[in-house]
């Protein structure tokens, strides 16, 4: 199964090689969606964990034991379909190409599973149709 998690690291834990330990100790593949980590600072990371359900649960328990805050409710990009006019401007600034125009209908389509929630599309939208939920 796959599960997306938001991690907040206290300064002291930034030195732990989290993704390596997840793979070695729990057989969990951790795809880094987004990360902001610097020495001696609070770090933030969004991971997509893939593996056995029990092992993902154990991995989350282990991370919590390190005083990493693990939030399962992650931010998501939301498109207001009433406001969107399918202009497509957002598709040019989306680094993961999660926002794209259907090649036939030229309607906007959004692939939530590949979105890294970088939020570049939000200010690019001329009609304020894109936001992030929490």
């Amino acid at each position: 199964m796959k599960r997306r998690v938001n991690l907040t690291f206290p300064r002291t834990v930034v030195g732990v090689p989290i993704t390596y330990r997840l793979a070695r100790d729990f057989n969990v593949a951790a795809n880094i969606i987004r990360a902001q980590v610097a020495p001696d600072q609070v770090g933030k990371m969004v991971l997509e964990l893939q593996g056995d359900m029990d092992q993902i649960d154990s991995a989350i328990e282990w991370m919590r034991s390190l005083e990493i805050t693990v939030s399962l409710q992650s931010k998501e990009i939301v498109i207001d379909e009433d406001a969107c006019v399918d202009c497509g401007l957002c598709t040019g600034v989306c680094p993961t190409q999660s926002l794209s125009l259907n090649p036939h209908s030229f309607r906007l389509s959004f692939n939530r599973s590949t979105c890294s929630v970088c939020e570049q599309c939000i200010p690019a939208c001329p009609v304020n149709a894109i936001s992030v939920n929490l």
């Binding site: 006019v85 399918d86 202009c87 497509g88 401007l89 957002c90 598709t91 040019g92 600034v93 794209s100 125009l101 090649p103 209908s105 030229f106 309607r107 200010p123 690019a124 001329p126 009609v127 304020n128």
Partner: protein, 386 residues
């Protein structure tokens, strides 16, 4: 095949008219060939839904008691021009709200216009020039489209034949009327929906007085547009290789529909109005069909580098609209992602709605009463030392 516009109108009246949207015509040409398709159609509809800057609305408020002669006026915090008549106003789309009005960032005339079109009520504040005829000094009230006399849209440049593609070769993001252009050619933005747009085809078939779809209601071609540049260089197929002819458009905003009149804002650039525009092209001769059969592969736009903020910006050459719509173009051997700022799906919807109006007999065609000037000087404003 030759036929007059009045002959087409007779077919509209007795419901025998044959109408195709431009995309439907192209499919038909691909299936049965040009000459057969030409035998099967009387009218071809085009459309676009793009952000416009050169557009606004004229409003006549009606007289208050005691009456006022306006000096300054604000509609929902956005200044409106009132230097004409006692209670006539012009609200421009790109006018931004006064900073002290505490409106959201990027709120401007286009948003007020869209609210009025949607039937919403907006606050009006005005200062008068009291005199014997018009003693009132100030006015605070609320208006909506039903409480004002005239409410009509005028776009000095409501349609552009072709346009540019924006890129940015610099190291920093550039904020433009095409939206954000990412550094190091991170994206390329185009603003014309390609062949489905109105002006790629026979400019001879339309002119001043031509009835059109405007903002979900009925409008007319009023004049040549500002920055009209019919002398733009052309490809052998007679389509321009960059921004060319423009049209001024006029229409009753009271009849317009909120789906086709939307305020928009380009961050760190400014406010624009997204407007649906559609023109029916009467198939009066086989030459008309030839221009309507042009494909996106055969029309081109110049790729312009916006990293240099000068009047003349460097060009990376021409790309076709087929390439632009594929999502990727190649500049200097490097692939660059493309994105439209014009809604291609809505452009097609405009053409479909216009087609339905004609099929139902609700919309007839008009003979132009004067041609769009085929020649026009394009002057630059060179600053004089005084």
């Amino acid at each position: 095949m030759e036929q007059s516009i009045s002959a087409i109108n007779a077919k509209i009246a007795n419901r025998s008219v044959r109408v195709l949207t431009l995309l439907e015509l192209q499919k038909r040409v691909a299936a049965v060939g040009l000459s057969q398709a030409a035998q099967e159609v009387d009218v071809v509809t085009t459309g676009t839904f793009a952000p416009l800057e050169s557009v606004g609305v004229f409003i006549n408020l009606g007289h208050t008691d005691p009456p006022i002669r306006l000096r300054s006026c604000w509609l929902d915090g956005v200044p409106a021009y009132s230097g004409m008549g006692a209670v006539d106003l012009f609200l421009g789309a790109t006018q931004e709200a006064e900073p002290q009005e505490e409106r959201p960032i990027g709120y401007g005339g286009a948003h007020v216009i869209a609210k009025l079109v949607a039937g919403e009520t907006v606050p009006l504040r005005a200062i008068g020039m009291p005199n014997d005829c018009y003693p009132r000094a100030t006015l605070e009230t609320q208006i909506n489209r039903d409480s004002i006399n005239q409410f009509y849209l005028y776009a000095p440049r409501g349609l552009y034949q072709n346009f540019v593609v924006g890129v940015n070769s610099g190291e920093e993001i550039v904020y433009t009327y095409l939206g954000p252009l990412l550094p190091r050619m991170g994206n390329a933005v185009y603003a014309n929906p390609g062949v489905i747009a109105p002006l790629w085809h026979s400019l001879e078939a339309i002119g001043i007085g031509t009835k059109i779809f405007l903002g979900g209601g009925i409008g007319f071609i009023a004049w040549e547009g500002t920055q009209h540049f019919p002398n733009q260089k052309q490809l052998p197929n007679h389509t321009p290789i960059g921004p060319a002819a423009t049209l001024a458009l006029i229409g009753d905003a009271k009849q317009m529909d909120k789906d086709w009149v939307k305020g928009c804002y380009f961050r760190n650039y400014g406010v624009s109005l997204m407007l649906g525009v559609g023109i029916p092209i009467p198939v009066v001769s086989s030459k008309t069909i030839e221009t309507l059969a042009l494909r996106d592969e055969e029309i081109m736009a110049p790729v312009i580098d916006f990293s240099i903020p000068r009047r003349v910006r460097p060009s990376f050459g021409l790309v076709s609209y087929a390439q632009l719509k594929s999502g990727k173009i190649t500049i200097n051997h490097t692939p660059v992602r493309t994105a439209p700022v014009v809604s291609i799906s809505r452009a097609e919807q405009v053409a479909s709605i216009l087609k339905d109006w004609i099929l139902k007999g609700e919309f007839t065609l008009t003979e132009p009463i004067a041609p769009i000037p085929p020649q026009r000087q394009f002057l630059h404003q060179d600053v004089l030392n005084v």
